[in-house]
Symmetry: C2
Subunit: 417 residues, 2 copies
């Protein structure tokens, strides 16, 4: 008899491997024979390879990873001629859209440096983002409309970890960020797939309760905030896993703690203050204060990144209106970590939030089969952008306003009532 | 007065930077405002970044690098289902073709592991290559027809260096390979751009002498070789830099020591033996012996990789016919290094060679404006593949056969007469 030592399930390599397996089985719900397109930071090649292996083991027909190099992005800002910033590699975005149209699933491995472009000219950043958003639109539509199964999973890049733990040595910072990622992704559960199934049921129960209420609006009140967010007609609360139009069930965000729906683009009024910094394309936008009238932002300020925020709001007509509202209790595991991630994938799951820009058709009953005009008629917003920012905290209360105008508590002190 | 120490032009970093500059200025002849698409092994990110910087400094509008990961390729062979090997990410090849059609230049940074796929099933390798070649065809046509300026530059990957210097520690092997690359790319010349201009003039003079001769055929004779290669009607010898159809002058291969033209697809007869191993898509094919009749290979053997060779010849009708013949003196600098590179970019510049498959329209006078039928009428071959292999050595003589059938010496003992 030989006794083989088992790999330590808690070793970094083993946990990374489980994260890759969760990405393929829970995040994507990849089908045998399906193609997979991965985008990943070049430092994340190790995780990309583990995902590639699990995808092939799950029967993937072909896995292609498009690696992104932030250093090359910076070289552009440092050395490219001014005309460069209206130019985009449309051929690559068209290629990705073609892949999705032919049935490929999509996984984004994300670990951006939150401050990558902080010192670059905001006008150039805005021009580059606008050109990119236009080129990306057809592919993004296939994603937001869940034509295909897709997911986003985090990667602890050194630059991201340094931004979160500026006083720690880089190795310690990266290890702490990985710990937070593994915990939020339920990697250490004895059966991660079962843990995700239970978590999805919980989020779907919460969404079901809100759907039964069918509120006309939500009202957020807290320090610097008194905002009424009208909900779109026939809105549907969603949370956890989603069945894509190709029939496959995916968890589009790992981690996820939110339930969310589509606000009415013309029925948002009042003022609201952000409760966490927003990291947008490499710029940190802190202490946002905006005022809405008839759904549109009419005043906007921020302590840092205000120029970038203003450029964002000018992207198009829909950029100054809401496309999403989401509720997350203050006691969510990510919130409890006490960490500020400077990364929407995490921070939006630590606090209730709203998103500027494009709405999800899937958050309107029957929405994925509706025309653009029908969706707009229900109040769904349209924009090249979709940017989440956090407005919840333990000091923010949320009320539901019924169709008859009466009010009932939904959250108190950041917790479900 | 302050005295600043100059960077050592011979340091590795400085030489790598000069290679990047040569790639942009000599290899591509990149125009201000032009887009650039780079393909690079993921280990070559450092060189890719230097090229990116030089490209932006030269006025590039946008640089996109598509990184290739050989580990992920191996994961496919190890874990993907059998159906995978007929599947290709056509959307990515179509995207590259779209980039070239819209005017982008193309740089390939190459440092493949010559033995990557040596232990994989040759049938799967052949299926994957055939699917890839079909998808790549539109992009490859834009390259081989010089619709755009393009170039290939080498990168000393650890796997390639290990294959060349199996008895050296990896660090030494990589350093020796870099030395050979830098020497062949004229990086250490006091003015590398001027050195390349002189080298290009020399190759173009040699091509001019052969064009003045306008031989009907070449005859190669040596150990295991007596091969008559008929040349296409109106063939043109080329070497060194090329003016692409967009008017930009590029050096498509760095290094380059060859003059080359298009044989007649139906007029190749006799037998020929390879004089160096051929590294084809990760398989080493050694000691090739083939016999031609009426332009077509009718017998083929190899000491290693024969199964892969046979699959290659079955790719399509043109895969068993010649698309290129090239002359390189035995005294060329790469040949004199005495090294075997297991890499066509180098080994083809150390010895006269022939290529199976697709012909270059640019090697026929007026060819880039001709229809496919006109080109075929001149004898230009068509195929999904283009694979160079070496048939020259210091023991091989080359004669030129005139239209009247008389013979005159072109090379003796591997040197120009």
């Amino acid at each position: 008899m030989t006794v083989q030592s088992l790999p330590d399930a808690r070793s970094h390599e083993a946990r990374l491997d489980r994260l890759a397996e969760i990405a393929v089985r829970v995040g994507l719900g990849l089908a045998p024979g399906q193609e997979l397109v991965i985008t990943a930071p070049i430092e994340g090649v190790g995780l990309a390879r583990l995902v590639t292996e699990h995808a092939y083991r799950a029967g993937a027909s072909l896995v292609t990873t498009l690696f992104e190099d932030e250093e090359s992005t910076l070289l552009r800002y440092r050395h490219a001629p001014d005309e460069s910033f209206d130019k985009v590699n449309a051929w690559l975005y068209e290629g990705m859209a073609a892949a999705y149209r032919s049935g490929a699933a999509r996984l984004a491995i994300r670990g951006s440096n939150p401050a990558l472009l902080a010192e670059q000219d905001p006008a150039k950043v805005a021009r580059a983002n606008r050109a990119m958003a236009r080129a990306y639109r057809p592919a993004l539509d296939l994603i937001t409309q869940y034509t295909i199964n897709w997911s986003i999973v985090p990667f602890a890049s050194p630059a991201w970890a340094r931004a979160m733990f500026p006083d720690e040595p880089e190795g310690v910072a990266v290890a702490r960020l990985w710990d937070a990622i593994f915990a939020s992704a339920r990697v250490d559960a004895s059966d991660p797939v079962a843990a995700w199934e239970a978590h999805n049921r919980e989020l779907q129960t919460r969404a079901g309760l809100l759907n039964a209420k069918a509120y006309a609006a939500l009202r957020f009140r807290g320090p610097g905030t008194d905002l009424t967010v009208g909900l779109s007609d026939g809105h549907e609360w969603l949370g956890g896993s989603t069945r894509a139009q190709n029939g496959l069930v995916c968890n589009p965000n790992i981690p996820t703690e939110e339930v969310f729906t589509t606000p009415h683009k013309d029925r948002v009024d009042g003022h609201v203050s952000s409760t966490k910094p927003l990291s947008y394309q490499g710029t940190l936008i802190q202490d946002i204060r905006v005022r809405f009238e008839g759904g549109r932002i009419v005043e906007a300020q921020a302590r840092t990144g205000e120029a970038v925020l203003r450029k964002v709001l000018e992207t198009d007509e829909g950029a100054a209106r809401l496309g999403e509202v989401a509720l997350v209790p203050f006691s969510s595991p990510i919130s409890k970590s006490g960490l500020l991630f400077y990364n929407t994938l995490f921070d939006e799951n630590a606090a209730s939030h709203i998103a500027l820009g494009q709405a999800y058709a899937s958050c309107i009953r029957g929405g994925t089969d509706m025309s653009a005009d029908e969706l707009a008629g229900r109040g769904a917003n349209t924009s090249l952008i979709h940017i989440d920012w956090m407005i919840g905290s333990d000091q923010v209360d949320v009320d539901g306003i019924t169709g008859e105008g009466s009010s009932e508590p939904v959250m108190r002190g950041g917790e479900w009532v």
